[in-house]
């Protein structure tokens, strides 16, 4: 290594240094230090002659290390480094001693010690420079594309500036339209020009600019890379409207049945789920607001879109509603009556007051059709050439047939009994499910083209295939009855529920005795009991072995049964059936108690010894369950241990290809809706099977359940209950007990729906959209873009004043936030610009409260900067358009901008009252007459030194601008910092206001701090020019003082990788050894890695251990070999 020759240059800085520090003496001393070849002092080292001293010495004396002792390196280090470079010396062989800011100035009072300290500093610098090494300055190319995040005024301005500079811009906006907060504003202070008028043109430019690729409904997912070379992954959320096709005619919104608060109008008015984000929306296209699938719809086994048809009912569109039900399944009338409605259990409204009567509403639209005569259905012509056979015409079979025929298959249903419907017809008594209703649902299916062959049992599947059917669905139900296996079960007078109900429904005339005991707790038991009553039995008792909670029957049914006088004997089970001379006489039961829960989760009943008791009876009806009747089924099939058909749980295919089975025959006795679901599942399998595609692949599509449904606007309203047939009219008659809603009730009830998913997917909009622009199937889409720089303009959010309870926001109608008032004064707003109270009156007095959430350490310590001015603006407008008195409650008036003070003056001239004092309370607790009906604002008028109570009609809270709640996520996504208040941190508050620690990422607008429009625009342009200058430079030099790893010492422990915030180090394998390697482009040179490195392999260039320890030794005048 060449001999080290250090040149030391001590500056006087006029008298700034020399006035205190004896620069000559320092220079002289420096000359005595080891390796110092030359030491000079000079009046102004930073002047050209000063710099020339250095250059010449480098050239002539071969100086190869330079120390300058002058002002702070933060000021002139770059200057002298450049000097070195100009003279051909590597700028990193330079050390700076700060003898002005750190010595002459703060120690002006002690010249001697100041001089001594200066010597120490110089000595240290000399020691350090000795160890310095030349560093190579690297350059990387810059990708000319720019990403702008946020479509508010800041983003728009920045994007346009760059795009006009002929550079490509990707703009990512989270909402459906750009415009941000500014487009919500009515007018902008102090000139009062309307912000729509000035912003809209910019928005349209942005939308149409050839160099701007606008991505609305989009969010940045992932950022990688470094300055000049970023890779950005963007998620485009579906708009469900094709922006290019939509001509914003608005038909979709007209027919849309769902109303939600309009965010753009600050919730002061409502909008539809299909909506135009704002009148001047860019892109000028409607959007559909989907927040996920409603829980009711997810809960429905048959996947009926409950929210959808309820929404339509609420609009009086009953036919359309029924259509929507039938998109899922054909049994509106049936399930509208007998469904166990799992949807209602999940209904979000239930968490607020009571669930919506979903089932009854479905029934209503079905009945409505019956009432109003449905016109004949046009049969579906078969488009597929394979035929399908369905065995059994119960809910499962018909549901399957229904789906298949709509797929274009020819379907034949084989039914062994004389009429179609299975259990629906033969299991459920008329008073619950009138035959006409069932017939209507079935005839609908038949009219579509499904052929139903009754009285045609199927013994042999091969036979069916031979008839040319390509696939078979077996849904023959569970016809057999479960035996109790107790003595006397065969006695005459004992009958099984299914047989009993079959006879009842077939109209067979049955004679029952007076006393009937029904055994069991399911729907069949209740049906049998209530039927017996109608057949004349006097005393009907249901015996159930568990308690009411475990009872499987529909609870409303149970209640009705009891209501009709049926007794239910819980926790008892028959032990034997007694008969006198062959005639059934009594039944002996034993009391049970509940033990441990069994497999089904229900607590298993156990008999209590010696608690037998007997009841005299004439008939016993046993309803303890149904079984699959194998004798009625084709031979070829396999069975489970439960005696049900064995099928693949997902595809429902039996062990025979092309033969599927579902419904009770597979599941054992279950709800109708479950059977329907099975039928639909089978239809999917059969279709896949016949098309020859995999039965399983991506079959389960689980819809995303909507999260946190807002109940803010819901009013308590009890659930409408269906009218019931009078008790005395029920005796001996099978007339239907539950009756239908009238139209008014139905609509009212439907209006209770919270529209959880917002868009209900009723698809009315699709019908009316002539452009065919709407597509409800749209999915998330991901795009990757490469950019060289990024501008964050993510804006702010308004502070929520309701966290200050004393101000009564959300409690009092007429306490408004600034943005709300903006909408009120806006001609296009909910009140067409008329300043009015909630009740429509014009306010007689208005209070404007400053610093709400600002300048208050309990909320935000900072000043929000715009409130004083917009407060004045409101006063202006109120004065201009109303006769109201206006009171401005302020702490300090801050009117610093151009024409601000003049505006203040103008408003004062209008006779606005200014009260200096922070408002304590806003209350409706009045004292005395003049306060009645007003809101009272209390504060101290600090100038009068008096407490005052000001009664007003309206209060406007100048709420703080605060960092967006997700600012932290954004910050970490782009690895930039945040201030304590959450706003993004700039590199330097004065000299680098739009830069961030991550080079190539710039910030503009209110995401950096609260500011008004002009400042925002200025800052946006600043950010744009930063990006442009980066682009026009075309390349960037990366930080040279970065960390490096001495591979020969490193053992790849990965501690550096773990601690680095910028992901610069990574562990790699080179010739079999694990070592860390630094991506210099990512490294910021913060040095954290070197601190945690156990081996000393990781070091920071220009800050390595030798240099620093040398410096320390030097400062303390310690010498080491």
């Amino acid at each position: 290594m060449e001999e080290v020759k250090i040149g030391v240059y001590v500056c006087w800085c006029g008298l700034n240094i020399a006035g205190t520090v004896d620069s000559e003496e320092v220079a002289r001393y420096a000359g005595t230090l080891p390796h110092v070849a030359v030491a000079r002092d000079y009046k102004y080292m930073c002047s050209d002659p000063g710099q020339d001293l250095i250059k010449n010495d480098i050239k002539r004396l071969g100086i190869n290390r330079v120390v300058v002792a002058s002002c702070s390196p933060r000021l002139h280090e770059p200057t002298f480094r450049k000097a070195c470079r100009d003279a051909g010396l590597n700028p990193y062989l330079y050390e700076h001693a700060n003898i002005r800011e750190h010595c002459s100035w703060p120690h002006a009072t002690d010249k001697n010690r100041a001089t001594e300290k200066a010597k120490d500093l110089v000595r240290a610098a000399v020691r350090r420079v000795y160890y310095q090494e030349p560093l190579e300055i690297k350059e990387v190319p810059v990708n000319p594309n720019v990403l702008v995040v946020g479509g508010g005024i800041a983003g728009i301005q920045a994007a346009l500036d760059i795009a006009d500079g002929e550079k490509k811009v990707y703009m990512v906006e989270r909402d459906a339209s750009i415009g941000g907060h500014m487009i919500q504003l009515d007018r902008t202070f102090p000139t009062l020009d309307c912000s729509e008028c000035i912003l809209t043109p910019k928005m349209t430019d942005t939308g149409h600019h050839p160099n701007i690729e606008l991505m609305t409904n989009s969010e940045v997912e992932e950022v990688s890379g470094y300055i000049g070379n970023f890779n950005v992954r963007i998620r485009k959320k579906p708009r469900y409207v094709d922006v290019d096709k939509c001509n914003s005619c608005g038909e979709c919104a007209k027919v849309c049945p769902v109303e939600v608060p309009d965010e753009f109008e600050m919730g002061l008015s409502m909008r539809k789920a299909a909506y135009l984000p704002l009148p001047q929306a860019v892109p000028a296209a409607f959007a559909i607001d989907k927040r996920g699938t409603a829980p009711c719809r997810i809960a429905c086994p048959a996947g009926v879109n409950a929210q959808g048809y309820i929404a339509l009912i609420s609009q009086g569109k009953f036919k359309e509603a029924l259509e929507l039900v039938r998109r899922a399944m054909p049994f509106a009338g049936v399930l509208g009556r007998v469904c166990t409605h799992p949807c209602e259990l999940e209904c979000e409204r239930g968490k607020f007051d009571e669930p919506v009567s979903i089932r009854a509403l479905k029934r209503f639209i079905a009945d409505y059709e019956l009432k109003t005569e449905r016109e004949k259905v046009v049969p579906i012509e078969t488009t597929k050439d394979s035929k399908v056979a369905v065995i059994g015409s119960g809910p499962a079979g018909l549901a399957c047939a229904y789906d298949l025929i709509r797929e274009g298959y020819a379907v034949t249903v084989f039914e062994s009994l004389p009429r179609a419907g299975g259990l629906l017809r033969y299991g459920i008594p008329e008073y619950r499910l009138p035959k006409e209703v069932l017939d209507n649902d079935i005839s609908y299916i038949q009219e579509l083209g499904v052929e139903i062959k009754t009285k045609s049992p199927v013994e042999d599947l091969a036979e069916v295939f031979n008839q040319g059917y390509a696939a078979i669905f077996i849904a023959s139900g569970a016809q057999g009855s479960q035996k109790m296996g107790i003595p006397g079960e065969e006695t005459s007078g004992v009958i099984h529920a299914l047989d009993f109900l079959r006879m009842v429904n077939a109209g067979v005339d049955i004679k029952l005795g007076n006393k009937v005991v029904v055994v069991g707790g399911g729907n069949a038991a209740i049906d049998a009991a209530r039927a017996s009553l109608r057949l004349g039995a006097r005393e009907v008792t249901v015996v159930y072995r568990r308690s009411r909670d475990e009872m499987p029957a529909i609870s409303s049914e149970v209640e009705e049964a009891e209501h009709e006088g049926i007794k239910i004997h819980f926790l008892a089970t028959p032990t034997k059936i007694l008969s006198r001379d062959g005639q059934l006489s009594a039944i002996e039961c034993i009391t049970m108690k509940l033990g441990e829960p069994d497999a089904s989760g229900r607590r298993r009943p156990v008999a209590v010894k010696g608690t037998e008791f007997t009841m005299n009876v004439d008939n016993v009806i046993i309803a303890i369950g149904q079984t699959v009747d194998k004798t009625a089924l084709p031979k070829e099939l396999n069975y489970t241990s439960w005696g049900t058909l064995e099928v693949d749980p997902v595809t429902l295919q039996t062990h025979i290809a092309g033969v599927f089975a579902g419904g009770d025959v597979v599941s054992g006795p279950a709800d109708v809706v479950v059977a329907v679901a099975a039928g639909k599942e089978a239809a999917i399998s059969i279709d896949r099977y016949l098309r020859g595609v995999s039965l399983t692949e991506e079959r389960q599509v689980t819809p995303k359940r909507v999260e946190n449904v807002s109940k803010e606007r819901a009013q308590l309203k009890a659930r409408a209950s269906t009218p019931l047939l009078k008790l005395d009219e029920r005796k001996g008659s099978f007339a239907e007990v539950e009756l239908s809603f009238d139209e008014k009730t139905a609509i009212e009830e439907a209006k209770r729906c919270l529209n959880c998913g917002v868009c209900s997917e009723c698809l009315e909009c699709v019908k009316v959209c002539e452009q065919g622009a709407i597509n409800h199937e749209m999915q998330d889409e991901f795009v990757e873009v490469e950019v060289g720089s990024m501008i964050l303009a993510t804006g702010y959010q308004q502070f929520d004043p309701s966290v200050i309870p004393q101000y009564g926001y959300k409690k009092f109608d007429n306490v408004l936030t600034g943005l709300e008032f903006e909408r009120i004064t806006c001609a296009g707003g909910p009140t067409q610009g008329r300043i009015q109270l909630k009740d429509g009156r014009e306010p007689e007095s208005v209070a404007i409260v400053h610093c709400v959430g600002s300048r208050d350490q309990n909320y935000h310590e900072y000043c929000s900067r715009v409130c004083c001015m917009y407060g004045l603006k409101y006063a202006e407008l109120i004065k201009e358009f109303t006769k109201a008195e206006v009171y401005e409650f302020y702490i300090d008036m801050r009117c610093f901008g151009e024409a601000f003070e003049e505006f203040y003056k103008r408003v004062s001239e209008m006779g606005v009252n200014f009260i200096r004092g922070k408002v304590a309370n806003i209350t409706d607790r009045v004292m005395g007459e003049e306060e009645r009906g007003k809101l009272i604002v209390t504060a101290e008028d600090t100038l009068l030194g008096k407490m005052i109570r000001v009664p007003v009609d309206m209060v406007i809270l100048c709420a703080a601008l605060e960092a967006r709640s997700d600012a932290a996520d954004v910050a970490s996504l782009f690895t930039i910092g945040q201030r304590g208040d959450g706003f993004f941190l700039e590199t330097h508050p004065k000299l680098a206001p739009v830069n961030t620690p991550t080079d190539g990422v710039f910030i503009a607008g209110c995401c950096e701090a609260p500011r008004d429009v002009p400042d925002t625009v200025a800052q946006a342009s600043a950010a744009a020019s930063k990006a442009l200058s980066l682009i026009s430079r075309g390349k960037v030099t990366t930080e040279a003082a970065v960390s490096y790893v001495d591979e020969s010492i490193c053992h790849g422990c990965g501690r550096c990788e773990e601690i680095c915030t910028f992901h610069a180090p990574s562990i790699i394998r080179t010739d079999g050894r694990l070592v860390s390697s630094i991506n210099e482009a990512l490294c910021k040179g913060c040095g954290a890695c070197a601190v945690v490195c156990p081996t000393g392999a990781a070091q920071i260039k220009h800050f390595n251990m030798q240099e620093i320890e040398g410096l320390v030794d030097g400062l303390l005048e310690v010498h080491r070999g």
């Binding site: 020969s1048 010492i1049 490193c1050 053992h1051 790849g1052 422990c1053 990965g1054 501690r1055 990788e1057 773990e1058 990574s1066 562990i1067 790699i1068 394998r1069 050894r1073 694990l1074 070592v1075 860390s1076 070197a1090 601190v1091 490195c1093 156990p1094 081996t1095 000393g1096 392999a1097 251990m1105 080491r1120 070999g1121």
Partner: protein, 388 residues
């Protein structure tokens, strides 16, 4: 001292250039650039700088494997150690692991004016006595404790365990409040100046304390006081014993009772205890006398044992990590649950290696590492025979 003197002192000139040293050297096995033989050749043929400015000078583990194999009994480790002194005088400090903190600590301790707070961990759980004639050497444990928390290593556990053992065996030892670093690491990195100061301080302290016997839980301290202090003319003038030797004796005498410990363990011979001082049997004897302990040897054990891969807080590069990896996989190969050692350093290095961070999947085997003292302290039964 010049290189010439060193050559004389360590009989380097007897070197036959046979290369046994290099072939057996654990470092050389991985690091192609490292060769004891070559170094000696350099030293003999000069120039001096080739040796002194050779970074590899600080890669030697001074594990004594080579010396044992050397047909002409060249004391390479001592040769290296002295050569390092010359290097130091020439401003070559080698690569200090942990950014030289530990060397720094040693130097700081040489200040006569400090009042250490090295015994704050001592709780009334333990019995000590100032007029005891047995001294328990605490060593650098308190400092390691502070430095190595992030690798979950509590060096003081070992000290406390040793103290517990002594107590249970009826000894209330003395602990020196102003004991200082024994100087092992500085002397082996060639900083003799610092070493002398420390040695002098400790020697006087010990003399003044008037103890008859010092018990070590740290082989390095043991070695340093036993061999290096006298070499540099500091005599501590009393019996020195490693805790394992002490235990072995007591077990010999009988009466030490152990509870059963169901464990399959293997044992790492620390270089200092093993090759430096030839103590191989004592620890094994202790292990075997604990009921339930199933003792298995590693492939290389006793005088063949492989070093834990680094020493005296110098070079800890990837080769040194490979040595550790190799040793640990030997240990795991024995199917032992626990790797027993009786040197805090071995434990530090093994644990460090096993807590390596980073995304890349590492091939570092993992096994519980435990000091003999801890194992014994847990096993030894209250009220074991207290009779001498």
């Amino acid at each position: 001292m010049s290189l010439e003197d060193i050559i004389q002192e360590t009989k380097t000139y007897y070197c036959l250039e046979c290369g046994k040293c290099t072939s057996i050297c654990p470092v050389a096995r991985y690091d192609p650039a490292f060769s004891p033989r070559a170094m000696i050749e350099n030293a003999l043929l000069g120039p001096e700088d080739d040796l002194v400015f050779n970074r590899e000078l600080f890669s030697c583990l001074t594990c004594y494997t080579c010396q044992q194999r050397c047909p002409s009994d060249v004391d390479f480790p001592v040769f290296v150690r002295k050569a390092r002194t010359i290097a130091q005088d020439n401003g070559q400090h080698g690569i200090c692991a942990h950014s030289g903190q530990l060397q720094s600590l040693a130097r700081l301790m040489t200040s006569p004016d400090i009042k250490q707070r090295r015994l704050e961990w001592l709780s009334d759980k333990y019995r000590t006595s100032d007029d005891s004639d047995v001294l328990l050497w605490v060593g650098c444990a308190p400092y390691f404790e502070a430095i190595f928390e992030d690798i979950e290593f509590r060096a003081l556990d070992i000290t406390e365990a040793s103290l517990k053992i002594l107590n249970l065996l009826g000894i209330e030892p003395k602990l020196l409040p102003d004991e200082k670093c024994c100087g092992h690491d500085v002397v082996w990195t060639g900083d003799v100046e610092t070493f002398k100061k420390l040695a002098e301080h400790n020697a006087t302290q010990i003399k003044e304390s008037g103890v008859q016997k010092i018990i070590f839980s740290c082989p390095e301290g043991y070695r340093t006081l036993k061999l290096d202090y006298p070499n540099y003319g500091f005599d501590v003038g009393c019996e020195l014993q490693h805790i394992s030797e002490f235990l072995a004796d007591r077990i010999e005498k009988g009466g030490v009772k152990f509870n059963e410990v169901k464990k399959r363990v293997t044992y790492q011979d620390p270089c200092r205890l093993g090759r430096h001082l030839g103590i191989y049997d004592a620890p094994r004897k202790v292990l075997k006398s604990i009921p339930g302990i199933e003792f298995v040897e590693m492939q290389y054990s006793g005088w063949d044992a492989i070093c834990c891969g680094t020493s005296a807080w110098t070079n800890c590069d990837s080769y040194s990590n490979m040595i550790r990896a190799e040793r640990l996989s030997e240990a795991t190969a024995t199917k032992a649950e626990t790797l027993i050692t009786c040197c805090p350093k071995c434990q530090t290095h093994f644990r460090c290696a096993m807590t390596d961070k980073g995304k890349e999947k590492r091939s570092m085997p993992s096994i519980e590492v435990m000091d003999l003292a801890n194992l014994v302290a847990n096993a030894i039964e209250e009220g074991s025979n207290l009779s001498k």
